[in-house]
């Protein structure tokens, strides 16, 4: 009898203690959440291609005493999340089409250009090729049975720009049947870096960040629609820092960061 009682007690003790601890944790979390709504960080939605440069900008911004959270994903994903009511304060779009749709739906206010980008052709750094002239047949030669790595040409912005560029350069027919379309431009970069694809079309900013690839050609900016990054405050957002951060994004110090990362300056008339 005595043993039974002891055993029961000791067996109940552990789960009871666990329950109390869990309860305490829940309470403290609820408490901190309550505290946060009083002064929550600015929430920025940004395209994945801006990951490193926005990291640097964020550091500078938060050093001034502000708080900011950034959510990185593909523009389409972020746009759909916004449509579904995500509580973002600011939205940076890498895709003009999505920007127009969101603005038309009244989800974004007063967009502003913050940066531009260029397309480049890259090869694996192990390759002996140093440059590629953009003549007809050049791409086919360079591929030599391999595939051209690009982001998905119908949907992902980087892919759409690549298709537009190749088409206007007269290289689309030879490239069309030899594509390896990836889920995003980073994956295309990775294919070239690993040597799986002998050639790839990526952003200049991506090429800079990857030591295992070499740029062999700059795609003329006139061959495709302007690659622009637009920032806009989200309609209905009430964060006090929103306007200030918008100003910061277009400030000279921010532009210096963008330039350093390989982005181009936004031109008011769209040319760059």
């Amino acid at each position: 009898m005595f043993n039974l009682q002891n055993t029961l007690e000791s067996r109940l003790r552990a789960p009871f203690a666990l329950t109390m601890q869990a309860l305490a944790l829940c309470l403290s979390l609820a408490g901190s959440a309550a505290a946060d709504t009083a002064a929550r960080p600015l929430l920025l939605f940004a395209p994945a291609s801006m990951t490193s440069v926005l990291g640097a900008l964020r550091e500078e911004w938060t050093a001034g005493g502000h708080q900011m959270t950034v959510s990185f994903a593909g523009t389409a994903t972020l746009a759909r999340q916004l449509r579904a009511g995500a509580p973002a304060d600011l939205f940076i779009s890498a895709d003009r089409a999505w920007l127009d749709v969101l603005t038309a739906e009244g989800l974004l206010r007063q967009p502003q250009r913050v940066a531009g980008n260029r397309l480049v052709l890259v090869v694996p750094s192990r390759s002996s090729r140093q440059s590629l002239s953009l003549q007809a047949g050049a791409v086919a030669d360079a591929l030599a049975g391999g595939r051209l790595a690009v982001a998905m040409v119908e949907s992902v912005p980087a892919g759409r720009y690549a298709k537009a560029a190749l088409t206007s350069l007269g290289l689309w027919t030879e490239a069309q049947t030899r594509l390896a379309e990836t889920v995003d431009v980073r994956a295309a970069l990775r294919l070239v870096a690993l040597g799986e694809a002998p050639l790839g079309v990526v952003y200049a900013t991506d090429a800079r960040s990857e030591p295992r690839v070499r740029v062999v050609a700059d795609i003329p900016p006139t061959s495709h629609p302007a690659i622009e990054y637009w920032a806009a405050p989200v309609a209905g957002g009430r964060h006090p820092d929103t306007a200030a951060f918008m100003d910061y994004l277009t400030s000279p110090s921010a532009m210096a960061h963008f330039r350093q990362a390989g982005f181009t300056d936004p031109q008011p008339d769209g040319s760059h």
Binding site: A76, V101, M152, L179, A180, E181, T182, V183, G195, E196
Partner: protein, 232 residues
């Protein structure tokens, strides 16, 4: 079929082809591994169990990346297969089938293992006493009795293969006609603001195909059960 564009039809056909091959090729090794896990004890058995379950717990993109490193054009296994057997996975539907098969493999093994474990070992003993060697016992007693579980596992594998995206696109990228499966096409569609209609159409197809596989499996299982319990 005017509901779907020719490209979409190609995608659906390719998805079916990839998933079917992934399942068929996974079955023999899947059954073998499940049998070993169910009926044998040996040092390091836990390690085999963990390895089998890795694709289930790792992020699919990681699995795809590992496949790329091993079986890609520059990967050691990829190079060996190409030079010795003239066979490529990279940027080919075979690679998609490999990725889908690997992702579905743990589900197959789990289901088959449970099924084999539930086969009465006394029946296997009886077969032994009647002169059947261990191989015959597996073929004529264990596996036939485990068939419902094998079917369920195959269906799970097929359904997983139909829905597999991350590993596939990371390994063999998205090449319409060669490696663009249903999920890839759906992803492609939802990237565009106006792509919802296409996405929904294709999603409907994916659901219909999975349900079809499930129904076939149910029907087959019921027939098996009936055969076992005649005149009950």
């Amino acid at each position: 079929m005017t509901i779907f564009t020719p490209d979409e039809l190609t995608t659906i056909q390719l998805s079916l082809k990839v998933s079917a091959w992934a399942t068929l090729v996974s079955l023999p090794p899947g059954i073998a591994v499940a049998w070993v896990l169910a009926r044998r004890e040996f040092p390091g058995k836990w390690l085999l169990d963990v390895l089998i379950h890795l694709p289930l717990v790792m992020p699919p993109v990681v699995t795809g990346y590992l496949l790329l490193m091993a079986f890609g054009r520059q990967g050691p296994l990829g190079i060996w297969l190409e030079t010795t057997l003239g066979f490529t996975f990279a940027f080919n539907w075979t690679g998609a089938a490999l990725a889908c098969g690997i992702m579905g493999f743990p589900l197959l093994v789990r289901s088959v293992r449970l099924s084999i474990e539930s086969v009465n070992r006394g029946l296997e003993q009886a077969a032994n006493t009647l002169g059947a060697n261990p191989a015959w016992v597996v073929v004529r007693v264990t596996l036939p009795l485990a068939l419902p579980g094998i079917l369920a596992g195959a269906v799970l594998c097929f359904a997983k293969a139909l829905g597999e995206f991350g590993a596939t696109i990371t390994f063999v990228s998205n090449i319409p006609g060669l490696t663009q499966t249903l999920p890839g096409a759906i992803y492609n569609s939802i990237q565009l603001p106006e792509g919802e209609a296409a996405a929904l159409r294709l999603t409907g197809v994916a659901i219909a195909l999975s349900m079809g596989a499930l129904l076939v499996s149910e029907w087959l299982t019921r027939r098996l059960r009936k055969r076992e319990g005649q005149a009950r």
